[in-house]
């Protein structure tokens, strides 16, 4: 199989060559993803092996009787399955939430406030002469990003590394910082203030900036602002270092405002470094089906968006869901303790190819085919570019789509719709 798409991170590299079990062009993270791993053998209900149909029947029974079932995960499956997940949540009167809510949700909230001046990764490759990595470390989290899209990429107009000014802003000297022309070390939690300071300088109000902001001197900030303004086409990539610190969504919003200001002088775009290979799809599908990207409650028969209450973590901590369907995710390993405690109190249904910590607390476990190897479908790269992941291995496992389709059909029948 040539030109297969790697289903690990938001890079969604589409040049993978598969030869049996080994893939060429994979980075270490992709290799780990595609190496043979333990699988869930078959559907299980309360410890007993059952058929797919029976497991789905039992799952539907739980979900239909719940007062507010939580449907969570989705960032590691295909849009076709996600769409059924959204419709299922609507028909059940439950919550649809996806992995964004614990990573780049602040970006959505910032977009709601100010919009996102963005572009495709190819814009960084072809045009960018200034590339900024703010609170992100692609060398370790998106290993092929620098060579395919940003730092060293050979573009149409910007031909390679020597034509780019690369800036890294972080709280410590990361691996990516070693690729940089300039590294600015900032105090944790001061990104918001630094964005305001840069805006003040660019807007001609140096006098509003104190001698030092977030560990960076005013002189350094002026030099930084100068580099930014003198770029012909700049791209600012940002990551969890920004979205997971103090003032997350407001910090991203302030970055957007900085980019708005920069566009009054030259051209700039920003791009969040998204984690899972289809976390963008899990947002987009929900938006066209229900109007919002995550934290959607359907208890009133239509969608409502309340990120302070209906994200999976909040709904669990607030004890506002009484059953959970977890698909392609491992909340028991990653959620805060109080949220996991609630998960252990309510019936949990899991759909996943591999066993994980959530499997241990799930009442019903339904194994699924591996997306991008055993099941095909559409995914969105971190910049939203849609790609079709391929199926090149036969399997006995049902795909996420098939499992959710039967669930939805049964729910609709039970509800008499």
């Amino acid at each position: 199989m040539r030109n297969a798409i790697c289903t690990f991170c938001g890079n969604a590299c589409d040049d993978i060559e598969f030869d049996g079990f080994v893939g060429k062009n994979l980075c270490p993270l992709g290799e780990a993803k595609f190496s043979a791993k333990q699988r869930i053998e078959g559907p299980v209900v309360n410890g007993e092996r059952v058929s797919y149909e029976e497991a789905i029947d039992r799952a539907v029974e739980i979900l239909v009787n719940a007062k507010r079932p939580l449907l969570y995960g989705f960032a590691s499956t295909v849009n076709e399955a996600i769409r059924l997940g959204v419709i299922l949540a609507e028909k059940l009167g439950g919550i649809y939430d996806q992995c964004s809510s614990v990573c780049h949700a602040p970006s959505t909230l910032a977009m709601i406030e100010e919009g996102i001046p963005g572009g495709t990764l190819g814009q960084a490759k072809n045009r960018a002469d200034v590339v900024v990595f703010w609170g992100c470390n692609p060398v370790e989290a998106h290993p092929r990003h620098p060579s395919r899209y940003s730092v060293m990429a050979k573009g149409f107009l910007t031909k390679g590394r020597q034509y780019r000014h690369v800036i890294v802003v972080d709280v410590r000297k990361t691996a990516t910082a070693y690729l940089a022309t300039e590294f600015y070390q900032v105090k944790p939690g001061y990104d918001y203030a630094i964005f305001s300071a840069l805006r003040s300088i660019i807007n001609g109000h140096e006098d509003a900036v104190p001698d030092e902001v977030g560990g960076v001197s005013r002189e350094k900030l002026k030099e930084f602002a100068d580099i930014l303004v003198n770029g012909k086409y700049g791209v600012i990539f940002y990551g969890l270092g920004l979205t997971h610190t103090r003032g997350s969504d407001r910090s991203v919003e302030n970055l957007v405002k900085l980019v708005q200001t920069l566009n009054r002088h030259t051209r700039y775009i920003i791009q969040p470094m998204r984690g899972h290979f289809n976390v963008v799809g899990a947002s987009a599908v929900a938006a066209w089906e229900a109007g919002y990207e995550y934290a959607i409650d359907f208890s009133r028969g239509h969608s409502r968006f309340f990120p302070s209450e209906f994200t999976a973590v909040e709904a669990l901590i607030r004890r506002d869901c009484d059953a959970a369907l977890i698909i392609a995710s491992d909340p028991a390993a990653h959620f805060p303790k109080r949220a996991v405690e609630r998960l252990t109190e309510i019936p949990v249904i899991q759909i996943d190819p591999h066993p994980n910590i959530t499997t241990l607390i799930a009442d019903i476990v339904i194994p699924s085919a591996l997306v991008g190897i055993e099941a095909e479908g559409t995914i969105y790269r971190m910049d939203g570019i849609p790609l079709r992941v391929k199926k090149f291995k036969e399997t006995e496992y049902w795909s996420d789509y098939e499992i959710l389709k039967l669930m939805l059909d049964k729910v609709i029948r039970l509800k008499g719709e």
Binding site: R2, N3, I5, D14, D15, N79, R83, E90, K91, T108, M111, I112, E113, E114, G115, I116, P117, G118, G119, T120, L121, G122, Q123, K125, N126, R148, Y149, K154, G155, F156, K232, Y233, Q260, N263, R264, T266, R267, I269, A284, V285, A287, W288, E289, A290, G291, Y292, F298, R300, G301, H302, S303, R304, T378, Y380, G384, I385, P386, L387, R388, E417
Partner: protein, 556 residues
């Protein structure tokens, strides 16, 4: 089961029927002469029976409208329908995909075309089109700022351009060729724009004039069902009507027996006189005269509706201007080698002089351009919601209604537009042309927009008698157009008494003209360009089997 629509008053201008009492029969999704047995009968005695409506320009799917939804939860809080039997539907002017299908059906429309998809994002566009219930649909890929198009246009290499157009339409399952601010979006990549048809595009040396005429030539030689479809340069700017007139004149060099050679879209936004926001006026009269005179050009209105809207277009430099003017949030997406897109929320205010000029200009076009050369549109959601078409039609049909509505608008329109002095009233037949016959002909969809044998079984029945209505009783007209007694899609009743009663799934039209050219001509260029894309050529585009219900059209 077959369907008989009995005793209705049929208005079917394409077949020369203007208000005859007759029966319409539908079998297997198509209009037939007659069905004798096993036929469900709908009584339409004294009611208007017409073909299903067609929207030839509405941004109903893809990354632009979807980013709009995500950035505007304030738009999505309006609840239209709860989930019971059918899907829940929400949205004020921006709608979810289920709501889009339902709202079209609820006004008797059965077809809509998305007019602008970035090809790199086309899988997404098709996913959304496939999530819109009821209506038939299609999408037009964007060509006007594509590096390869600009290069072939600069080289005047029409053969390669034809090959490229055919390749793109197949890869995208697209229906036609769209241009948005040709050259201007490429200039935007470094913060610029183009301002006349003869400005050189930075880095390419080509001019908008050359891009437009080259693409018209390619489309005509390939004989696509739909002509080149253009959003002109200088959209939104005072004085832009001159650029629009010049663009329209470019059609003069071409001819086509069946249809126009250039469709100029949402002309209202490109029909302003004046040199600033202070002396802006309407150039609609002059544009109307020109359009009526040149056989080979058609237009649509782009009517703004007072109230909320969300502007979204590939015209990035204009969107940045609007972001600054309206002091509103702004999404932008620069798309490698091809195009871009921008989104800015907007409110058209009746009390605002400029907005009122825009409102009046759209209506002037709707009243002054021949009904077989103009289609009703709002450039959804740029001018406002598409479900305001009944409101627009009623404004065009009733001078009294216009007078009432004009009272709400800014008095500046008396000075800056000719609307107050226009007494003309559109007939029902005119409206049927502007919402059915004309868009079907513009799009080259021969089985749509009429009720002749073999046409699609898409029918709307309204509670108004075309032979006996009073244009000053505008409330009655508006009510009738807003609440069809029936909307029938492919022979199925989908709307009864103004509400959706069942859901069917329409088709996606696309055009295959690969047999008119050969990809070999551009093979080496494609290989070269794919070095600069971040997606491999093998992963570019969409396969027919991924679509739910594709309908491949071979060009004539």
């Amino acid at each position: 089961m077959a369907l008989q629509i009995k005793n209705g008053i049929v208005v079917d201008p394409k077949n020369g029927i203007s208000g005859e009492k007759m029966d319409i029969f539908i079998k297997d999704g198509k209009i037939v002469e007659e069905v004798k047995k096993n036929c469900r009968v709908i009584d339409a005695t004294g009611k208007l029976v017409v073909a299903g409506g067609i929207d030839l320009h509405a941004h109903i799917a893809g990354c632009k409208i979807n980013t709009g939804r995500a950035m505007r939860p304030e738009e999505m809080r309006f609840v239209r329908r709860k989930s019971n039997g059918l899907r829940a539907a929400v949205g004020r002017t921006l709608l979810t995909s289920p709501a889009i299908g339902y709202e079209y059906a609820k006004m008797g429309y059965t077809t809509a075309v998305d007019p602008a998809t970035p090809s790199l994002y086309v899988i997404h566009t098709h996913e959304e089109l496939d999530s819109i219930p009821i209506i038939d649909k299609a999408t037009l890929p964007l060509f006007g700022n594509w590096h390869q198009v600009m290069r072939y246009s600069a080289d005047k290499d029409i053969e390669k351009l034809k090959s490229f157009v055919a390749w793109v339409l197949e890869r995208t399952k697209g229906y036609g060729v769209k241009l948005v601010n040709p050259g201007g979006v490429e200039a935007w990549m470094y913060g610029g724009n183009v301002h006349t048809l003869d400005d050189a595009v930075p880095g390419f040396g080509v001019t908008p004039r050359e891009i437009i005429t080259s693409l018209i030539a390619a489309v005509e030689e390939l004989n696509l069902p739909h002509s080149a479809h253009i959003h002109c340069n200088n959209l939104g700017m005072p004085g832009n009507y001159e650029t629009t007139m010049e663009t329209i004149k470019l059609a003069k060099g071409f001819e086509n027996r069946d249809r126009q050679v250039l469709h100029v879209t949402h002309v209202q936004f490109n029909a302003y006189t004046g040199s600033s926001w202070r002396d802006i006026g309407s150039g609609a009269e002059e544009i109307a005269k020109l359009v009526n005179r040149i056989e080979s050009v058609t237009i649509d209105m782009g009517q703004p509706i007072f109230g909320h809207a969300t502007t979204m277009t590939a015209d990035c430099p204009w969107q940045f201007e609007l972001h600054k003017l309206a002091k509103a949030k702004w999404c932008n997406r620069d798309i490698e080698l091809e195009t871009g897109g921008g989104i800015v929320p907007y409110v058209y205010r009746a009390k605002n002089a400029v907005n009122s000029v825009q409102w009046a200009t759209g209506l002037e076009l709707g009243l002054l351009v021949d009904a077989d050369k103009i289609a009703i549109s709002t450039d959804y959601p740029n001018g406002g919601p598409f479900n305001s078409y009944p409101y627009i039609a009623t404004l065009l049909m009733s001078k009294k209604f216009r007078d009432e509505e004009m009272k709400k608008a800014h008095p500046y329109i008396e000075k800056a537009t000719s609307l107050p002095s226009i007494d003309a009233e559109r007939t029902i037949e005119d409206i049927v042309k502007m919402t059915r016959v004309t868009p079907a002909r513009v799009l080259g969809m021969k089985n749509k927009g009429h009720l002749g044998t073999g046409a699609d079984g898409d029918v709307a029945v309204y509670d108004i008698n075309p032979m006996d209505y009073n244009s000053s009783n505008f409330q009655a007209i508006l009510k009738a157009l807003k609440n069809p007694l029936y909307t029938i899609k492919s022979g199925e009743i989908v709307v009864k008494d103004g509400d959706v009663v069942s859901e069917v799934w329409g088709r996606t039209y696309w055009v295959d003209v690969r047999d008119k050219t050969t990809t070999e001509l551009i093979e080496r260029d494609l290989e070269e360009y794919f070095n600069y894309y971040t997606v491999n050529r093998e992963n570019y585009g969409v396969e027919e089997r991924w679509l739910q219900n594709p309908l491949r059209v071979m060009a004539g």
